[in-house]
Symmetry: C2
Subunit: 121 residues, 2 copies
Amino acid sequence: MASTCGGRVSRNLTALRRSAPVFAALGDETRLRLLAKLSSGGPLSITQLAAGEAVTRQAITKHLAVLAAAGLVRDARTGRERRWELDTAPLNTARSCLDLVAQRWDQRLERLRALVEDDAP
Amino acid sequence: MASTCGGRVSRNLTALRRSAPVFAALGDETRLRLLAKLSSGGPLSITQLAAGEAVTRQAITKHLAVLAAAGLVRDARTGRERRWELDTAPLNTARSCLDLVAQRWDQRLERLRALVEDDAP
DNA sequence: GTCATATGCAACCTCCTGGTTGCATGTACC
DNA sequence: GGTACATGCAACCAGGAGGTTGCATATGAC
């Protein structure tokens, strides 16, 4: 399961390209903290998320917009509140893309090691 | 093996904070393509990496500097060349951080589901 | 030594990002 | 209806990111 990165090499490159925005969204300390809060604290409103943060509520709103654009969070209105919740799907895709790169490299190293051992036993 | 994200919650947050630069480095299409090239093409020189790319060699140099600052690549001189190679360690750390967030969220959902089923069997 | 190749350094430009402030709107609640 | 809370919208700002061009410097080949 869970492999937008699976398949042929060309598809892998497409998946990598599509993952860039996700990684970019993850590449900010404040946003990572928001994700951590959401992962353990459940659906939270903007004000709740902004509580304890060093920056303005407006800044948090912008960060949430970035996360939403990357598909990492969803919002749902409940009355006058707007609760945000995680979507782990892009997270899994990103993770398997990292796997792919790491695997290819490690396989390379392994082949190289085997070659050396074969050359001088 | 491979878990800077393991341990207590406070440590997890520190790990998340330390992962931000890695994700930021991954959050660019060109840089992802460089990593892909390196993962399958082995140690490559700047000129080799710049070949086929739409941007200047100088731009590639800057991207490599970003990747190096995140610990994702290392360089080694061989004569007048400078060959770059992957380091998958930060990749693994980043991957387990993603795992952590996803797991916590999924556990939350699971607990919620169990609660609902318990409430109305 | 000379020439071509591989890289380094620096200045410069543009645009996006993260952040702020101020004000408007919507919705509970009494 | 009025008040308080939750959010939305817009303008604005500083700094950094990504990119370019031009020139300097090393090093391998002949």
